[in-house]
């Protein structure tokens, strides 16, 4: 968990954020024991016509929010790597929300302390429930491996095929088959 963070990765339709806000609902439910999306640590920015964009703590290695706090109320937990708020030291000045580059860390109206993502102790609910699967919980290295594999296979495909080593193509799912006209309803 120490190096893993949440990534927002979209693919081909329909692996895109559709703005359903289930991530906000489950996040607030997990942390506040009630359904209150505005108290969620992940927020979906929505603007018509087509903007749906989840905003969440990137768990920066050199976090501007921590640096900005003059009262040392924010620190990076050495074990889990998440940012922790010391409610004794925090005076609620809001300097950290100014510092955060993503608008991920802030105090919702009516809250005294900033709400920070704690990765749900290693099993982030937003990632677990995202119906589109566009939120991933992985390390930067794992993400790189996925991309490396894609580009490497793209480069090697024609040779592998020539040598008879091409991996077997997976059968399309029923919906994919329908989309390419193989399956009729």
């Amino acid at each position: 968990m120490q190096h893993r963070r949440i990534y927002f990765i979209e693919g081909a339709f329909p692996q895109m954020c559709s703005g359903c806000r289930l991530c906000e609902v489950v996040c607030s439910f997990h942390h506040e024991k009630m359904f209150a999306p505005w108290l969620s640590r992940i927020r979906v920015f929505k603007k018509e016509p087509a903007v749906d964009y989840p905003v969440f703590c990137r768990r920066c290695k050199n976090p501007p929010c921590v640096k900005s706090c003059e009262f040392s109320a924010l620190r990076v937990d050495p074990n889990s790597g998440v940012i922790v708020v010391d409610k004794e030291a925090c005076i609620g000045c809001g300097e950290c929300s100014k510092a955060c580059s993503f608008g991920a860390l802030y105090m919702p109206d009516g809250e005294e302390f900033p709400l920070v993502c704690d990765l749900c102790g290693g099993d982030p609910k937003c990632v677990k429930y995202c119906p589109a699967g566009v939120l991933k919980f992985m390390t930067s290295e794992e993400l790189a491996r996925v991309k490396q594999e894609k580009i490497a296979l793209g480069h090697m495909d024609k040779f592998l095929e020539k040598w008879g080593l091409a991996p077997q193509k997976e059968k399309p799912s029923p919906v994919e088959a329908m989309a390419i006209g193989q399956l009729k309803l």
Partner: protein, 638 residues
């Protein structure tokens, strides 16, 4: 307060400006659950027969639902109920989106609006603070513009807005209430009721959390439901409800086109949703907390309508605005949908108005002088677009159609009534010949013909019905439909009252999501009150009976209205597997007798009996109907 509810009802009188906040009565919540159930009961209690649909006395009730705003799958539905200006009886319209959860977060399960404001106003609800604001700068504006201006006025991008377009202001009887660029509460002309109150929009922002009785249990149940897989749901994600059009194309006939003159429309293949996916589709869109994401954002980048963007279309829009008038242009269809959304009209009703006018023109009942010089030829997309604008503005010929097909048919005369295909004044969009389950469902539904009130789908076996009532319920020409229909009608009241989407329950043939057991489990987890399957079904039955009684009370609906237009009795189907079949009057009579008996209603009149109503705990309703029947008999005696 019972857990799971927001706990409040907001009552606003626009005539006096009075704003009242009441707590949700517990007995109402226990016997009607919420959403459609409580809405229907409020409407029944508040609206007397003398109150006309478009008069200030009519109540416009907005309802959420027990599961709305939680993490139960697809729990973003809301319902809007009023006496319908289209049918004169019970009317309600449902929509997805985000307004319903937001209203609940603001602390209100229901919002009741009465009276009429002196000048155009809009409501601004932010938790406790409720304001009636001037809306003169919004009057006459398109739906998208209203959203933009209000968001700017309130300096908040996140407020949820419900509004009417120009059609609602002009009291077009098929006007709907819009939410966002596409979500609409369409059936029954709720937009006209809102327009008659001079209420242009409602903006909502809520900041109160919803708690449930057993959070851990609730999450476990919801998680299990989210993990279920289904081909139908994947298909909906991929192409939305237009997937049905794909089915029609591959089987070679549609479920009614050219105002039900035929089921053949070979050019329908031009409307293949896969073409849409390739050319116009950009992103998926979802309602609140829904994993299906059946709505989609499109843009048109070239051609006549370059620059157009919107959400949709769904099956209802496609079927009524393209399949019925037999147009084949995707951009034309998207533009038509955009227009009905911006003017704020029910695409189903408007599409059928257009098809009706086209048939009258085809048969020489309407001449070019009467149609303002328009040649109403089948397949002409320009005519469709022109008529949508005329209807919304009540301009010339459009004024006639703006009152719905039934009234238009009566006004035109010359036999046009025959081609106005309605049950109780609300249009029929899909053919019922050779489909007995659908036929009985359409004629007995409490708000006019409707597949969303529960149907025994003919030819698409629903396992839970076959298990309970035997294989013969799925026989399209069988007459043993009554018991199964009663069950599924009562069950259909549950998704509406819990606030979950019908596309995810057994009513639409998808048996893997929201079964009766799921509702029981979620009810218990949310409220902490134990409930059995029979209890929930009784609530469904109670809701159906209240709605039916309201129709009886205000519009005099009864057995005489539970029928379909003559076309279906006289003209046989021209193609498809049911070729040559028409509806037999004796079959319908037989099924109705059966149905009223199963329901415990009077077989002669189709009115709920005193015994049945008392059994369901509806004592005041029983008294009302008894009085009504007494007065009627006295009058007939004279």
């Amino acid at each position: 307060m019972i857990k799971g509810y927001a706990g409040g009802i907001l009552k606003i009188d626009l005539s006096t400006g009075e704003i009242r906040k009441e707590s949700l009565p517990e007995d109402l919540a226990l016997s009607f659950i919420g959403g459609r159930g409580i809405n229907s009961k409020i409407l029944y209690d508040e609206v007397e027969p003398a109150i006309k649909p478009l008069s200030p006395g009519n109540c416009l009730v907005f309802g959420t639902g027990l599961l709305v705003g939680t993490m139960a799958p697809a729990c973003g539905r809301g319902v809007i109920t009023a006496r319908s200006p289209l049918t004169n009886g019970h009317g309600d319209a449902h929509s997805g989106g985000w307004w319903s959860p937001e209203l609940k977060y603001a602390g209100y399960d229901h919002l009741v609006i009465r009276g009429k404001a002196e000048r155009p106003v809009y409501l601004w609800i932010e938790d406790e603070q409720v304001e009636i604001r001037d809306a003169s700068h919004l009057w006459g504006k398109f739906n998208n513009d209203v959203h933009k201006i209000i968001k700017k006025d309130l300096e908040d991008e996140a407020v949820q807005i419900l509004c009417i377009g120009p059609a609602g202001e002009n009291l077009v009887r098929s006007a709907c209430i819009m939410h966002g660029p596409k979500r609409s509460a369409s059936r029954g002309g709720m937009g006209a009721v809102m327009g008659s109150k001079n209420l242009k929009a409602i903006a909502i922002k809520g900041r109160r959390g919803i708690q449930v009785a057993h959070p851990e249990k609730f999450e476990v149940i919801a998680a299990e439901m989210f993990s279920r897989k289904s081909f139908m749901r994947d298909a909906l994600t991929f192409m939305g409800t237009p997937a049905i059009i794909l089915g029609e194309i591959s089987q070679g006939w549609s479920c009614g086109t050219k105002n039900m003159q035929t089921v053949l429309f070979p050019e329908e293949k031009e409307l293949n949703p896969i073409i849409y996916n390739k050319r116009y589709l950009r992103r998926p869109k979802a309602c609140f907390a829904c994993g299906v994401r059946c709505s989609r954002i499109y843009t048109i980048t070239e051609g006549e309508f370059a620059g157009l963007w919107g959400e949709g279309p769904d099956w209802g829009t496609m079927h009524n605005l393209a399949v019925h008038p037999q147009t084949t242009s995707w951009p034309g269809l998207l533009k038509a949908e955009w227009l009905v959304n911006q003017y704020g009209m029910d695409a189903c009703e408007v599409g059928m108005c257009i098809a009706f006018a086209m048939e009258c023109y085809q048969r020489g009942i309407l001449s070019e002088e009467e149609t303002d010089g328009l040649k109403l030829k089948w397949g002409d997309k320009e005519v469709v677009l022109e008529l949508i604008e005329k209807i919304a503005k009540r301009e010339g010929f459009g004024d006639l159609l703006a009152d719905g097909v039934k009234r238009a048919g009566e006004k035109i005369g010359k036999g046009a009534e025959r081609y106005a295909l309605t049950v109780k004044g609300s249009n029929i969009t899909a053919d019922v010949r050779g489909k007995h389950g659908m036929l009985l469902g359409y004629v007995t539904s409490t708000r006019g013909p409707d597949h969303l009130r529960g149907l025994v789908f003919d030819g698409y076996p629903i396992k839970v019905l076959e298990d309970k009532f035997g294989k013969e319920v799925s026989d399209p020409l069988g007459t043993k439909k009554a018991a199964a229909l009663k069950w599924i009608q009562d069950f259909s009241a549950l998704p509406d009252s819990f606030g979950t989407c019908k596309l995810q329950s057994v009513t639409e043939g998808m048996e893997n999501m929201y079964t009766l057991q799921d509702y029981c489990k979620l009810y218990e987890a949310a409220t902490g009150i134990e409930v059995s399957e029979d209890d929930l079904m009784e609530v469904g039955e109670r809701i159906t009976n209240v709605e039916r009684s309201f129709g009886v009370k205000v519009a005099g609906w009864g057995r005489k209205d539970d029928t379909v237009p003559d076309r279906f009795f006289d003209e046989p189907l021209d193609a498809g597997p049911q070729k040559g079949i028409k509806v037999k009057r004796e079959d319908l009579d037989l099924m109705l007798n059966d149905y009223y008996q199963v329901r415990g209603w009077d077989v002669g009149t189709g009115v709920p009996t005193k015994k049945k109503l008392k059994e369901l705990g509806l004592n005041t309703v029983a008294r009302d109907l008894e009085k009504l029947i007494f007065v009627k008999k006295k009058r007939e005696g004279k």
